[in-house]
Structures are given as C-alpha cells and as structure tokens.
C-alpha cells in the first residue's frame, strides 16, 4: 500500500511581474509516495480554491518530461533532487514524511517572473529564431537516404537534440548563462551534414542573441549539466566555442 505522508511546503508567491514576492507556508497532509511533485501542487491548489485563496500558478503541460513547460526550484535545486528528472516526473518517494520543501521559480534576469512560479522564457525562442535551424523551406528535399550519416554522428546529434528547453541550466548557473541550451542546438545541427553548412554563422548569431537577452557568460561550473533533465553534456559548450571561433577567424 502507498505510504501517506505530510509535506510542509514553503512556496514563492508573487501576484505579477512588478509585484513584491514572498514565501508562504502550506501543509499538504494527504500526500503519498506515488504522487508526482506537480500532483502534490494540484492537491494543494484544490485545497486553496476551496478555502477561497488563489492557487499557486506553475507552468506544466505534458507531465511526462518531454515538453519542457515545467520547471521550478525544489529545495534549491532546479527540478528537485532526482537526477535527470524534470519536476513533473519527480515523485514523492524522493521525499520523506514530514519533509519541508522550499519551492521557488527559476531565477534569471532574462527569465522575468510572470506570476508565482511561472517565468517568461521567450528569450529561448528568440535565440532559436536567431539561427537555430537549417535554412530550408518545404519541398525540394532530396531522398532521405541520399546522404548517409554515420551512426555515431546521428547518435551524438540526438544526444544534444534531446534538449527540452526548460531553462533549468540557466536557473542552476551562477552566471545565469544559457550556454548549455544554446550549445545543445548548435552542436546538434553542426554534427549533421545538413546543418554543418551554416554552422559557423549559426553559432555567432545564436551566441550574440544569448548575450543580447541578458544571459551571463559561461565560466565552466557545469552546474547546468548536473540539473539537466536530459543529461545534455557540457562538451556541447566546447563545440559551440569552436564553431564560434571558426567563424570569427574566417
């Protein structure tokens, strides 16, 4: 039988982007080990609505660790204590009865708070729009097998392409850098023949956009890799720097 547990939450509440925020204490008495962390917040919210209080807002959608919508600091760690796990996939069996958990939004200058735990990550979309694609339009593509790609390259590209764009890397970085996110796309595309043609320009455009959005620089802490729910490797950042330098030296 599932163990029932009492969890003491301390949640960041902030009514809007300009409003002052503060931590508020809540108790969820009927949690259980098979619940996901977001289901715990659901249960809390149902209680709040019945009590006539405003529920806690948090972004989420797929709840299976793939869309990248969710993301909060749980006990000071982006997505919580379980490695390679988005917070929607974090289950309460990672906690003990009676635990106190602080829940805060991802914090970064480039991620302004929308409300409570919801932040604006549209800077990521602008980084992709700066060059995170292969410049093709629909139609006229050659047969998919016309250009063989080594299995190693395809596999490595896939490792980077697995990024879900959640922003945990930024939240974990002492400089609030978006290097891991940006590098993942640059590396994914540079590793494939289809993407390698534009690789240098892409690196420059995306890195410049990252800076323009107010993200910090990378100083090799590798905190990003530690919290990444998809385990994206910081080696991508080396690759990004290489592409960048190649372009600058051209």
């Amino acid at each position: 039988m599932a163990k029932s547990m009492t969890i003491y939450l301390r949640v960041w509440r902030q009514a809007g982007p300009e409003a002052p925020g503060r931590l508020v204490d809540y108790t969820v008495a009927d949690a259980n080990e098979h619940m996901s962390f977001l289901e715990l917040l659901d249960v809390l919210n149902e209680q709040l609505i019945h009590r006539g209080e405003d529920p806690v807002e948090f972004d989420n959608d797929c709840r299976e660790g793939i869309c990248g919508s969710c993301g909060v600091m749980v006990g000071g760690i982006a997505h919580g204590p379980q490695q390679r796990t988005a917070v929607c996939q974090l289950h309460m069996r990672a906690f003990k009865d009676g635990d106190r958990i602080v829940v805060e939004p991802f914090r970064a200058k480039a991620f302004p708070i929308v409300k409570d735990l919801v932040v604006d990550r549209s800077a990521f979309d602008r980084i992709i729009a700066a060059g995170g694609y292969v410049s093709t339009t629909t139609g006229g593509a050659p047969d998919a097998n016309a250009l063989p790609v080594s299995k190693e390259a395809a596999d490595e590209a896939m490792d980077y392409a697995a990024c879900i764009g959640c922003g945990a890397c930024v939240a974990a970085c002492p400089n609030a850098s978006a290097s891991l996110f940006t590098a993942a796309k640059i590396a994914h595309l540079a590793l494939l023949p289809q993407g390698s043609i534009e690789a240098p320009q892409r690196a420059v455009a995306m890195v410049d956009q990252m800076t323009a959005e107010g993200f910090g620089d990378c100083s090799n802490h590798a905190e990003c890799e530690a919290v990444c729910p998809k385990g994206i490797s910081v080696h991508g950042i080396t690759r990004m720097r290489r592409e960048y330098i190649k372009a600058v030296l051209r």
């Binding site: 619940m35 019945h50 807002e57 395809a154």
Partner: protein, 644 residues
C-alpha cells in the same frame, strides 16, 4: 433501423483513378501568385506538427501568417510527446512495402471507416515527409552504414516506421518549430504564444477571424485574416485521465462547431493498450509506453484468476500470452483497439495483476535473453527510465505493468478532401479533423498525418480557396461579427468567475471523465450510453450553478482556463454518447457489446453504417442534426478485419 434519411455531405473528392486523384487535383488547382500571397493573412491556431508545419510552409511561400499557441512556446505542443515513430512507404528495408500497402493497412486498420482518397494521398506524401525532416536535421536512428533505420509497428507486416529513439514526436516537432522559427526570423510569421482561441468569427459566410485570450493579461483580442487553419489536436482529455497534455482541449474546435462546422464521428476514440496504470485518485494524467515496446515485449497474465505470486514466481506453464494465443499471425503486434479490448477482457475476468488488478504484464525477459540487456537499452532506454521513474520499479528485472488509456481521437471536425469544413475558409488539420484514421488509428500514423496536412496538402488546397473566392478585402476587426463574438466570450468568462459555487473545475472534470470512461470507453451498450448522456446533461447544468473559479480575469489564471474548457468537454461528451448510440455496430475503437461475434470480436455493419456521421449544432439544449458522408470503397474489398 430506419434507412438513412439524413442529409448527405459532399466531400469533393476528385474524379479519376485513386492513384491519380491527388496529382490530377494539383494539375488544375487554382494558384495564388507570389505577389498576391503577401496580401493574404492566414491565421494558424496551434503549433503542433500540423499547425507548425502549416505555418512554416505558408510563411515560406510568402503568405503573412499569424501563428497562435496555448503554451509559452511553439516548441511545447503535445505532438512532442509522441514516442515510437512515423510511418512512410519508403520501402528502404526492401521488405515489400508500397504506397498501396500503407494505404491498405491504414484503411483496414481504421476498420473501413475512413475516406479512401484522403488515406491514399496520405500514403503518397509519406515519403516526402521523411525527406523534409532529414533536410531539417531531424536525427533519425541510423544503421551502421549510415542509412536510416526502420522498425515495425502494430497493424503492419513490414518495417516502415522511422524513429528517433523513443522521442520521434519531439524530434519532428523541433524540426517543425525550427522551420517556424526561421520564418519568424524572416518576418513572414508572427508568433503569438500563450493565447487561447475562444471563438471563430464568421463574417458574410466566411471564416474571417478569431477571438483569443492573452493568457498572461486576460485581454481578449481580435484577429482578422483571409482563412483560419485550426490545428488544435484532439479531445482525449474529455475523459479527464488520458495521455494528453494538461492543456490539450476541445475548446477551439467546439467554438467552430457552434459557428457552423460539423463535428464528425466523435465516438471514435482510441484507447491505447500500453500505458502505465492508475495509481490513485490524485492522478492527473496517464503516461503512455510506446507501442514499439510490443516489438520485443510479450503481453501476458497468469492463467489463474487472482494468482497472488509475483511474476518471477509464475512458471511459463501458468502464464497466458493471450495475444499470441488468440492472434497467432500478428501476436503482440495486433492493432491498438484489439490489444486494448483483450486486456480489458482479461482484467474483467479477474486475471489482472498489480494492486489494483487493472493491469497486465509486458515482459521483456525473453528479448533480454535473446539480444542482451544492452540492445534493449539502446532501443527503449528512455522508455524504461520513464517507467522506472513513475513506478519506482526496474523493468529490466520485473515485467512492466500496463493498462489501456485514452490516447487519441479519430473523430473531429468534418473536412472535405481539401481539409475545409462546412464553414468556407475554415480548414482543419491533424488530429483536430476526422479524416484519415477511420475508427482506429494505427501506430506511427498521427505524426505522418499532421505533417502531411501541414507540409504537403494545405499549401495546395488553401491556394485553391483563396484564388477561387472573392473575399471582402476591407473587412477589419471593427466588423460587427467580431464585436458579437468578443462579447459572447467576455460574458462567459464573467459568468465563470462570478458563480462562486462549491465545486472546482477539476472535480467536475473527474466526474465527467468517469462517466465517459465507464460508458463511452472500451465497451459501450445502449443502456450505458443513454444513462451517460442523461448524467452528463445533468452535470453540465450543475456546472453552471456550482462552479467555483478562483482569482480574476485580468491575470494569469490557469483554473479559469480549465473551467472554460471543461464546460466545452461536457457538451462534447453528450455528443460523443449520442454518436455512439446512433452507430449500431462495432468498428475500431467503437465497440458496442450488442454487436460482436461469437468469439468477442467487433461486428461491423457495412450495410447501414459505412458512413461518417457529421453533427450540426442547432442550439444549446437542442438535438444536433446528423449529416452523413457515405463512404464508398472502390478500391478495397470490405472484409472483416482479421489479425489471426
């Protein structure tokens, strides 16, 4: 059963041989010149595979596109969660696949309730999709020689499924999102995230705009355009528990229904056989385990009811691999509807496993012995990890427990061959339409359809509409139809907020879900459907008296969004029950217990039901009118589906 007197719908299928229809259509279809494309604004709602690919493609062609999505970014649409793969008739493995076979498998898999011409076109363009995705840099799985890898999927005897680990939907969607981002950079596409479409604006008989709510500020907005493309996915969340994302909903499609678009075959819903079972009442959604697992996993239950032994203690002789036993030709790879019903049957008979006894085993022990754990890890590693995270069990050591869950909806807004609804200028793409999967969708076909519609069909059919229609170029958002639609949306939001009853949206949603799951789920009866329709109507009235929505309108307010969607799900739920009642046969995902063979297989009635039922809205609390599109099969022989 009275003979059909229902009004008949014309699907505008081109004449000629099945194989030539699409080419013949393209040869003569009207075009919009490059200079004129710039003058047309196209509103594309949704950024999944269908909407994202349509917006990117139309932007690339030079149209002015406004793209809307409900999430904070176009990259998060629920197509992203598709795991297993995408079908294409490439015949790379040289195992005998052809366009015809993909067409035939899809028509047969859909239990002969889809339109031949659409399905053939889908199979025809399937290969182009793979070419396009590879050109975008989608990292599909490859063989050591560098060529693309394929695997097999349910309902087919060839390997035609392309995949990117267990994240095929994610990779295809990111390819689409990147193509869309490219067009955003060129200025042809304007992206409006965190918007929910609350109404369709029909002016002078044409779809000319939409009303959206900015989900951050609560502001209602009016958008005018020359055509509206609805790409908003399916309605599986009507059941509360489903594999859909939390924001997936029917609201945009339902608003279109109320503005004159017909809703077709709402009772055709797909229950996916391999999902992680429910663990408790707080459960907010269900997680699918890709059907591709059935390539190597074997489904079984103990032979004895209530066998208390853990799976490792149950010897081979005491296990029933019921799919292999009942369907020797397809074994564990029977189509989804067949596999789901078989699991239900075992559990109903008391042979289910796990604490709830609502689960069957999916066992990889034999495959691990044959191929080694490493090979299995390479094929399904991320799925196994996901299973372990959710259940706390190690599927390499103990068999997975799985149970069916609502996953996909074949029904949707009725569209003709050009993907146009009964409202001129309103097109519907992807899961939101009803067109290609009949009464059951085969695995790895949803991604194919979404991208076929967006990349390769709509660019032609939209051009045909725009070049052949005289639209009022001076129409603006100050037209009365906009004011009226905005007013209606506003009023509804105010009512939701001011009722201040005692029941939350989630509580209503759970109740609705229970009714639908029990009576409009895997097995349906006349009695059950009649009682469900009544109960849902009562619940809907209760909703407007007792709903309690927190907060206010002028801010981010998730529960206000939810409440509006649940109100629409309830109306839809009634229509689902009505449609299921009218369809006196069993086909695909629609299983009426009154209509089955002696050994419990679905019994179709081609004489009376080889048609799509398209329902027309006539007013609140008024019975909708059923229109019919007769399905004529000129190329395939209707036979009873056999996977034995």
């Amino acid at each position: 059963m009275p003979r059909a007197t229902q009004p008949v719908l014309n699907a505008k299928v081109p004449a000629g041989r099945l194989q030539d229809k699409w080419d013949a259509y393209k040869d003569v279809v009207g075009l919009v010149s490059p200079a004129n494309k710039r003058k047309h604004t196209i509103l594309v709602v949704g950024t999944g595979l269908a909407g994202g690919s349509a917006a990117a493609t139309l932007g690339g062609l030079g149209y002015k596109v406004k793209s809307f999505c409900i999430q904070d970014s176009a990259r998060r649409a629920h197509s992203i969660a598709a795991q297993g793969g995408i079908n294409a008739a490439k015949n790379y493995p040289n195992d005998g696949d052809t366009i015809w076979r993909l067409f035939y498998d899809t028509i047969k898999g859909g239990d002969y309730r889809a339109r031949e011409a659409n399905v053939y076109r889908l199979a025809q363009v399937s290969g182009n999709i793979i070419d396009q995705a590879v050109a975008q840099g989608v990292p599909f799985a490859r063989e050591y020689g560098g060529l693309l890898a394929n695997r097999s999927f349910g309902g087919a005897q060839v390997a035609r499924t392309f995949y990117a680990r267990g994240q095929t939907g994610q990779q295809l969607l990111l390819g689409t999102y990147q193509a869309l981002s490219h067009q955003i950079a060129t200025g042809n596409v304007t992206m409006l995230p965190r918007r929910e479409m609350l109404d369709l604006v029909v002016a002078d008989g044409h779809a000319r705009g939409i009303i959206t709510r900015d989900l951050v500020t609560g502001q209602l907005e009016r958008h005018v355009g020359d055509a509206v493309l609805l790409c908003t996915g399916g309605y599986g969340n009507a059941y509360y528990l489903s594999t859909n994302a939390k924001n997936s909903n029917v609201t945009a499609a339902w608003r279109c229904y109320k503005r004159g678009a017909y809703f077709a075959n709402p009772c055709f819903t797909q229950i996916h056989p391999t999902c992680i079972p429910v663990s408790g009442s707080y459960q907010s959604k269900l997680t699918l385990m890709s059907e591709s697992l059935r390539n190597d996993g074997r489904v079984w239950v103990p032979k004895d009811t209530g066998d208390p032994r853990p799976p490792s203690q149950i010897p081979e002789a005491d296990r029933d691999y019921y799919l292999e036993r009942r369907y020797p030709a397809f074994g564990n790879l029977v189509p989804r509807d067949v596999a789901s019903r078989a699991a239900k049957k075992e559990c109903d008979a008391g042979r289910g496993v796990g604490t709830t006894r609502l689960a069957v085993y999916l066992d990889f022990a034999q495959a691990i012995r044959r191929l080694g754990e490493q090979a299995i890890r390479e094929r399904y590693g991320n799925l196994f990890e996901m299973y372990a995270r959710i259940t706390g069990e190690n599927p390499y050591a103990v068999p997975m427990r799985i149970y069916p869950a609502v996953h996909y909806t074949m029904g949707g807004l009725w569209v003709d061959y050009e993907l146009q609804t009964t409202v001129p200028g309103l097109f519907v793409l992807g899961e939101a339409n009803f067109s290609d999967h009949g009464a059951n969708r085969l695995g790895a076909s949803a991604l194919m359809q979404g991208l076929a519609d967006g990349y390769f069909v709509i660019p032609y059919t939209l051009g045909a509409y725009l070049s052949g229609t005289a639209l009022n170029g001076r129409l603006t958002t100050s037209h009365d139809a906009f004011a009226q639609a905005e007013h209606a949306s506003n009023k509804r939001l105010r009512t939701l907020l001011s009722t201040q009853g005692d029941k939350t949206a989630t509580e209503f949603h759970r109740e609705l879900g229970q009714l639908l799951w029990n009576h409009v789920g895997m097995a349906r009866t006349r009695e059950g459907l009649e009682s469900a329709a009544k109960a849902i109507a009562a619940l809907r009235h209760q909703f407007w008296e007792r709903i309690r929505v927190p907060g206010e309108n002028g801010t981010y307010n998730k529960y206000l969004e939810f409440a509006g969607r649940i109100a629409d799900f309830m109306e839809l739920g009634e229509l689902m029950a009505r449609d299921a009642l009218a369809r006196e046969e069993s086909c695909g995902g629609h299983f009426r217990e009154e209509h089955q063979t002696a050994d419990g297989e679905a019994l179709r009635n081609d004489e009376d039901f080889a048609h799509a039922s398209a329902w027309a809205y006539t007013g609140n609390d008024q019975a909708p009118v059923e229109h019919r599109e007769p399905l004529t099969f000129e190329n395939v022989q209707l036979s009873s589906r056999s996977y034995k």
